[in-house]
């Protein structure tokens, strides 16, 4: 028997309709230069990929970029083990792996800034596209390292916004990104978390301050928790990892087996 996916059909039709009214422009989302397709031009992709060859913490995914400060790298000669930053090594990390599409710098920084604060929601597409790659690599990483099957990954969990902030901004950037990736990869979208308290902006705070700020802020929402399975936490930005750690703690306490973190951009290790 043929199954007709009405929702999919309607969704496609709606997208076609929107394409008619707001035709997608074949210019680079990042630099506004001409592109061969809708998305990010090869120049900007190359700039992003420049970072991917840089050494990266195996756990938190941040880049070892501070030039010359080799001590941070903690490399052991002839050791095949991946490099792990001092922070991840010395403190207990709650998520398994965190990965990002690039460094929070240059065009990517501007794009995220425009997306979040300039409310240019059309940037969901290119940023979500980048994030899709990150989620895919996390799935394969989970498979190779933890023998996780794709079916064991219950879904994508966006980092929530407090109601007040959500109202002001009009959208939750993590949710938009998670929905986009979920549609792209056919992985369920799972809004498991909610933010109970408004916290002051995290910018400019130290790791300890951030952690204390966040204690008890996140809660699990009423929906059914996929106990014993893994999820991928989605956020736009990975700075010190306090937010995602706190979210992971809440999720693990709720009975999940493991948490992966996918963000669009990440920072360097200071």
């Amino acid at each position: 028997m043929i199954q007709i996916n009405y929702y999919g059909f309607l969704h496609d039709l709606w997208e076609e309709f929107l394409n008619l009214i707001f035709p997608p422009r074949n210019t680079c989302f990042f630099c506004n230069g001409p592109a061969d397709f809708q998305g990010i031009c090869s120049d900007c992709i190359r700039k992003l990929n420049n970072y991917s060859t840089q050494p990266q913490c195996y756990i938190c995914g941040r880049y070892f970029l501070s030039a010359g400060k080799q001590n941070l790298l903690d490399l052991e000669e002839n050791d095949k083990r991946p490099t792990v930053c001092t922070e991840c090594r010395h403190s207990e990390h709650l998520y398994v792996f965190a990965r990002a599409a690039g460094l929070y710098d240059g065009n990517l920084m501007r794009a995220i800034w425009k997306f979040k604060y300039g409310k240019k929601t059309y940037l969901t597409k290119p940023l979500g596209g980048l994030l899709t790659g990150v989620v895919e690599s996390l799935i394969s990483l989970g498979h190779s390292e933890l023998r996780l099957k794709k079916s064991e990954i219950a879904g994508l969990v966006p980092v929530p916004l407090a109601n007040k902030r959500l109202r002001k901004r009009g959208f939750n950037q993590s949710e938009l990104l998670a929905r986009f990736v979920s549609h792209n990869l056919d992985v369920p979208f799972l809004p498991l978390l909610n933010k109970l308290k408004e916290t002051p902006a995290q910018t400019g705070l130290s790791r300890e301050q951030r952690q204390s700020n966040l204690a008890g802020v996140f809660g699990v929402s009423q929906c059914k928790i996929p106990v014993g399975k893994s999820v991928i936490l989605i956020d736009d930005m990975f700075t010190t990892g306090s937010t995602v750690s706190e979210c992971s703690r809440v999720l693990l306490n709720a009975g999940l087996k493991s948490v992966f973190v996918a963000t669009v951009a990440t920072s360097t290790i200071r």
């Binding site: 009214i21 707001f22 035709p23 074949n26 409310k119 969901t124 109202r167 938009l176």
Partner: protein, 808 residues
């Protein structure tokens, strides 16, 4: 690059609608074709045909033709057989009444018509005109109205506003003229109750302004807030249009933008969640455009504002060419005739200018000036809009306004303030007129400044230049020039455009030629072949003849004039003759000749001379004598006051009589045949004192006879002057006060009569018409043919009439 299917489809629909005006295909057949095309398009889509793009284009093209045809045939021809009769109509008021200072217009959806005892049901739309009543009916009222049913006038003069076509495009074929409130009976209430409540609310808000502000200012506030223009004093209106800020009085992008910004700020302030906020703002924008009557400019702005708003919510980037064309498509599918609407054309071209040319100008300004950002912004917006609307403004209003930019810089911030205050006082006034009054004290002060600024700018010398109507080809030429110049100045496209132009030399040369001709066409008249052109302008009851000599000089013989024009200064002179001269690009009158002092000949003189300087005014020598004899003091006599006004302006006034010659053009001989220098004319003998001119160019002669009656005709016959002429302007609008022998002596190839349609003197008289018929002289009449334009090159003559008819 972006693919913009909607832009293409809109273009196709527009061409379909325009084409439908020239085709005459039955709607049923078109519907059949449309069905087939639709079926083909759906099949093509489902089976992914390669040619489905073409099928789809065809579908849109047919849609355009179909909608155009339907809209062209909306006038119910059954009503035409009732025209010229007194009838009683029953129908529902289907739009907001259009209030003017002295009258009111309703649009009526007819349900029933009664003439005498005969009654029938008819579906049609009728315009009802009534003198200013005490009670104004509103949308949805079911009325019984008694009045005279007439067809709207066709324009008599070429280039004039075509009222009949204008109404026809709204589906209105006839006008009912009611004579007072006793002709109206309210039978009940019909119509959309939602719209009715909305318009009642608007009426209340307008009333609030009228209660708390002086009439003129209330009209201006309501004009700025709602775009209701009927009540604004004509002088002020003219000042607005001459300084290029008339767009302020028609609700458009600026107004909707301000309302949108206000609504966004309000939802932000009240901390309304964004989704609900977006819905609320959308609702507000829709309500506002309903309030403003859903004209093309309002609808366009509202649609674009909604798309702007929702592009955020839907996570899409706006593409303005698509948004603009979608707005056009929606308006045209709703009202195809909007394509001919001046407001539609101006609104869309201005928006195109602002969005396409604007950024380029902005970039140039930022590079070369260090002015504050808001000045730069006002400059680029108004300059872009002015550049893009220039050919249309030249075509429809014969205007070019150099102060427009300055006026906009000053007026736009003031308008913003007035709009904000007006909205506040209007809404508050619904609850407390007192509070509205408090706010409006402020509004009034801002309005004072506003009006002062506008009239100051309007009075600057050279604040506006009247330019002749450009030929139609000028309009596309101008837009092509704009398109390419903007691309060359644009950093991003410059290199590709320059490469394109250097690789296609011919295209470059073509564009250069276009640019030069476009600009020169606008400001200079093309040198025509050497000829004498005589325009007998259709001025209604009255007379005005413009003669353009082969050397390029202009002489105006009489200026027309409606009843009361001496006193008001408004009428044939300002509304017909002046625009006529401006359309032709006449900037200076070398001679203004007033044959005699009657209002229907000299009434418009003041208005004409105020705008087009006259070097010399020629009058009949007898007129002055007659005046002194009549005993009227110069202050009382409007004609003397007129001449006194000319004298004060420093215009030379010359009285002429029999035997004088006017040396205006070396190739043209102008002889004055009358008035006689010996005869004394009585005060009631004005007509006989008219200046009679014999104009000869090569072998062709024209006899202009003013209003002379039998006595003057006799003395002309007796004087022995050579009266033979090819063209005879019939004396006194074709009155029966005419000698057969005079006409026989002149023996013209054809005659001209200037008379108003259905005038109360019943001119031209049937006897004169019969006489001309007997003598086998064809006649051109302004009441039937409109303007009569004779072009003579000395041996051959061509006749053109405003309505393309005649001779009779």
């Amino acid at each position: 690059m972006v693919s913009r299917p909607l832009l293409l489809f809109t273009g196709i629909v527009i061409s379909g609608i325009v084409l439908s005006g020239y085709l005459n295909i039955s709607p049923g057949f078109l519907l059949l074709l449309l069905g087939i095309a639709f079926f083909a398009a759906v099949t093509g889509y489902l089976f992914s045909w390669r040619a489905s793009g073409i099928v789809l284009s065809l579908l849109f093209f047919l849609t355009g033709i179909f909608y155009g045809t339907i809209s062209n045939n909306r006038v119910n021809p059954d009503l035409f057989r009732y025209t010229g009769h007194w009838v009683t109509l029953e129908g529902v008021v289907c739009s907001e009444p259009d209030l003017r200072p002295d009258k009111v217009f309703y649009k009526l959806d007819l349900t029933r018509i009664k003439i005498g005892e005969e009654q029938s049901r008819l579906k049609a739309r009728v315009l009802v005109q009534a003198p200013k009543p005490d009670k104004v009916y509103c949308f949805g009222d079911l009325l019984r109205i008694h009045g005279l049913l007439v067809r709207p006038d066709e324009p008599g003069n070429p280039g004039e506003f075509d009222y009949r076509t204008y109404l026809t495009r709204q589906g209105i074929g006839v006008i009912l003229r009611a004579s007072g409130s006793e002709d109206f009976v309210l039978l009940g209430v019909r119509g959309n109750p939602f719209m009715r409540q909305l318009l009642l609310l608007k009426k209340k808000i307008i009333m609030v302004q009228q209660q708390t502000l002086p009439a003129d200012k209330a009209a201006l506030v309501n004009g700025i807030v709602f775009g209701t223009q009927g009540q604004i004093p004509e002088k002020l209106w003219e000042a607005f249009s001459q300084t290029g800020i008339v767009h302020i009085l028609s609700v458009s992008g600026m107004h909707v933008g301000l309302v949108l910004a206000g609504a966004i700020a309000l939802t932000g302030f009240l901390n309304i969640p964004v989704i609900q906020g977006t819905l609320l703002i959308s609702l507000l924008v829709i309500l506002y455009s309903l309030f403003c009557g859903m004209g093309p400019a309002v609808t366009r702005s509202a649609l674009m504002a909604l798309m702007f708003l929702w592009s955020y919510r839907l996570g899409r980037k706006q593409d303005w060419p698509t948004t603009l064309s979608l707005a056009a498509l929606i308006i045209l599918l709703w009202k195809p005739a909007a394509i001919y609407d001046i407001g539609f054309q101006l609104s869309f071209s201005a928006t195109w200018g602002i969005l396409y040319l604007g950024p380029v100008i902005d970039e140039l300004l930022k590079k070369h000036t260090r002015w504050p950002a808001w000045i730069q912004a006002t400059i680029w917006v108004s300059l872009a809009a002015q550049l893009a609307t220039l050919p249309l403004v030249a075509l429809y209003y014969n205007l070019f306004s150099p102060v427009s930019m300055l006026a906009n810089i000053l007026a736009v911030p003031l308008t913003t303030a007035i709009l904000a205050l007006g909205v506040c006082s209007g809404i508050l006034g619904l609850f407390s007129v007192f509070l509205a009054g408090l706010i409006n004290a402020c509004t009034s002060a801002v309005l004072d400044i506003f009006i002062a600024v506008v009239s100051l700018l309007n009075n600057l010398p050279g604040s506006f230049i009247s330019i002749p109507s450009p030929p139609l080809i000028f309009i596309p030429a101008w837009f092509i020039v704009l398109f390419f110049s903007a691309r060359i100045f644009n950093k991003k496209n410059a290199s590709t455009t320059v490469r394109f132009l250097s690789e296609n030399r011919n295209a470059a040369v073509l564009i250069l030629i276009l640019a030069v001709t476009a600009i020169s066409l606008l400001f200079f008249k093309t040198p025509a072949e050497k000829q004498l052109v005589m325009h007998m302008i259709d001025v209604g009851q009255g007379e005005s003849i413009l003669i353009q000599f082969p050397s390029g000089k202009n002489m105006l013989v009489d200026t027309g004039g409606w009843e009361g024009e001496f006193a008001t200064g408004e009428g044939a002179g300002s509304k017909v003759v002046l625009p006529y001269l401006q359309r032709l690009g006449v900037r200076r009158l070398d001679v203004l000749l007033l044959t005699h002092s009657h209002e229907d000949h000299a009434g418009g003189a003041a208005a004409v001379v105020n705008s087009i300087p006259a070097a010399l005014v020629i009058v009949s020598s007898a007129a002055q004598k007659a005046n002194s004899l009549s005993g009227a003091s110069p202050e009382e006599d409007p004609y003397s006051r007129l001449l006194e006004g000319f004298r004060k302006k420093g215009i030379l006034i010359q009285a002429v009589n029999e035997g004088d010659r006017l040396l205006l053009d070396p190739d043209v001989e102008i002889k004055v045949l009358s008035p006689s220098s010996t005869r004394t004319y009585q005060a009631d003998d004005e007509n006989n004192s008219s200046v009679v001119l014999m104009i000869r160019y090569g072998r062709q002669k024209f006899l202009l006879t003013g209003d002379i009656e039998v006595e003057a005709q006799e003395s002309l016959l007796k004087s022995g002057a050579d009266l033979r002429a090819d063209v005879l302007k019939m004396p006194h609008h074709g009155s029966s006060n005419l000698l057969r022998s005079f006409v026989e002596r002149v023996h013209p190839s054809f005659a001209l009569i200037s008379a108003g349609k259905n005038n109360r003197f019943f001119l031209p008289s049937s006897e004169t018409v019969k006489l001309l018929k007997d003598l086998n002289i064809p006649v051109y009449r302004t009441d039937k043919d409109g303007a009569i334009i004779l072009s003579a090159n000395g041996s051959k003559m061509r006749v053109k009439t405003g309505r393309g008819t005649g001779p009779w």
